[in-house]
């Protein structure tokens, strides 16, 4: 962290590489959702307009698959980065669910309902961030697997009967919908609509958050940085 940042009370929350991965994820998920839901709800007039915009069903499929392959590349890169890089390894360690997250969740519920006095104190990633991260990862993996099965349908049918592919189609579509709902209700709330960040948490562009925000929302991380003399 530069001295200018420190002077301005800014703390780095997302490094450049993470921001690039996040931006790719945002763009690719949007493309996948737009092309995917257009097919899922093909009877809808907006969907039909979108399919025509995407150049017909054939081209829609190509766009969807190109975006999917890029997303997979992004995911594989991210996995390697989290498992083996100097920056990624500690991040991954902080992202694992612990018993504390469950306690935090129930404590926050109790606090919000008015039966607990203290709001839980989060580290760099609270239960909200962890749920978002693992939910998205699991969802994307499930969609990716069923998607590849449907893409290589002749290959899949060498091993699976027809109804398994029907199942894959159902999972692909509905998991996509579930992921979309989660993304909108959870992520948009946490990083856009939440009173502490409204209208937007800027860290996905600038990579930085204010130290004051960190002290309020992630006090343990704030204290850790302070203890390390970084603030």
């Amino acid at each position: 962290m530069s001295h200018a940042d420190l002077a301005a009370g800014k703390v780095i929350r997302m490094s450049l590489l993470f921001r690039i991965q996040h931006l790719l994820l945002t763009v690719l998920l949007t493309v996948l959702a737009v092309t995917g839901f257009a097919l899922m709800y093909h009877g809808n007039s907006l969907a039909q307009w979108l399919i025509r915009l995407e150049g017909g069903v054939q081209n829609r499929g190509i766009v969807h698959r190109v975006a999917a392959v890029l997303l997979m590349a992004n995911l594989v890169y991210h996995a390697f980065y989290m498992l083996f890089s100097r920056e990624g390894k500690p991040e991954l360690r902080q992202l694992f669910f612990t018993k504390r997250d469950f306690d935090d969740f129930f404590q926050s519920l109790r606090y919000n309902l008015g039966t607990a006095k203290e709001y839980p104190r989060f580290g760099k990633y609270g239960y909200k961030e962890k749920f978002q991260y693992w939910g998205a990862t699991g969802g994307v993996l499930l969609i990716a697997m069923s998607g590849f099965m449907l893409w290589a349908e002749e290959f899949s049918m060498l091993f699976f009967p027809k109804f398994v592919l029907d199942l894959a189609l159902i999972i692909h579509g509905y998991q996509g919908l579930l992921g979309f709902v989660l993304l909108y209700l959870w992520h948009i709330y946490n990083v856009h609509l939440h009173p502490s960040v409204f209208p937007m948490n800027p860290s996905w562009i600038t990579g930085k958050v204010s130290a004051e925000w960190l002290r309020r929302e992630h006090p343990l991380e704030y204290e850790k940085l302070k203890g390390e003399g970084l603030l």
Binding site: F163, I170, Y189
Partner: protein, 355 residues
Amino acid sequence: MRKFALTAILVFLGGAFLPGLAPRDASASISLEKCTLCHGKPEFRKLLVDGQIRDLFATGDTLAGSVHGKKVCTDCHFDVSEIPHRERPKRVTCTHCHFKGNHEGAPQSDNVLAYFDSAHGKAIARGNTKAPLCQDCHGSHAILKAKDPGSKVARGNVAETCGKCHMEIYAQFKGSIHGTALAKGIAEVPSCPGCHGEHRIYSRNDPKSTIYSTHVSEQCSKCHSSIKIMGKFGIETEQVATYKESFHGVANQFGSRTVANCSSCHGVHDIRPPDDPLSMVNPKNVPKTCGKCHPGANPNFAVGKIHVDAKKKESGIIYWTATFFKWLTICTMLALVAHIFLDMYGRTRRLRGER
């Protein structure tokens, strides 16, 4: 004997006086007699170049009972003026009378215009002498109204009429479920015009055609999505709806011409019920049928319902998975909305506390 004599006298008198009672153009009635001089002989026929025999036998009774019962030879063969004919009389042009606004009292419709636009009419216009004119389907002398069961274009006969030229297809059709049902006299089953249209018959590559690849499902659905019709035969009606929800159906609706439509899998003229071993959709034949487009298709293609509807309980695991996801999504949404509102409420409390 007296009875016979009386009849003979009556017939004679009738023959002598009736033309006078119902006066008719003198030249026409004479020409009928002139025509039958030659054409009235049963053995009057011509050997054609290709070895076929053209029967030229026709008498005053030939038109009797047909819709043209009151017409005479030259009403249609109006180009005949000399005997013997110097050149071969032309084929009869029905539009001589059958056009809109005619004064002959001939039925008036646009069918003739539709015919000229059809595959048959265009083939004629290109000079294909084998293509059918009106009389090739409706009959030449023994024309009856289409509703008359004896008509060549009546429901029970039209397939045979088409089959005169389309022989192979007729043979396939006769063995198909539609053909056998037609032979049983089932009223709802389609004969050729049921799918192809009557006068508006177009090539399957013509986008106007009812059997153009993107129109096939719509054409089949006219009967196959009707509970009223299909209920009589115990056939499911949601096949067209489930097709339209499938990958094949969606691509088809958006104009793909290579994707499978109903007839790609079920056959065209040789459609048979799935339990028929010759049916293209018999589980034993499914790999071969799917293999037309999906190289290397194996018996896995036949395991599981093809026309599957995730909204129906009969679909088993597909239905339960879809239902699970539906409720998972609904519950997740509700839980998240509840959490968001609680969180906002708690946040306000926290802010108040800090102040």
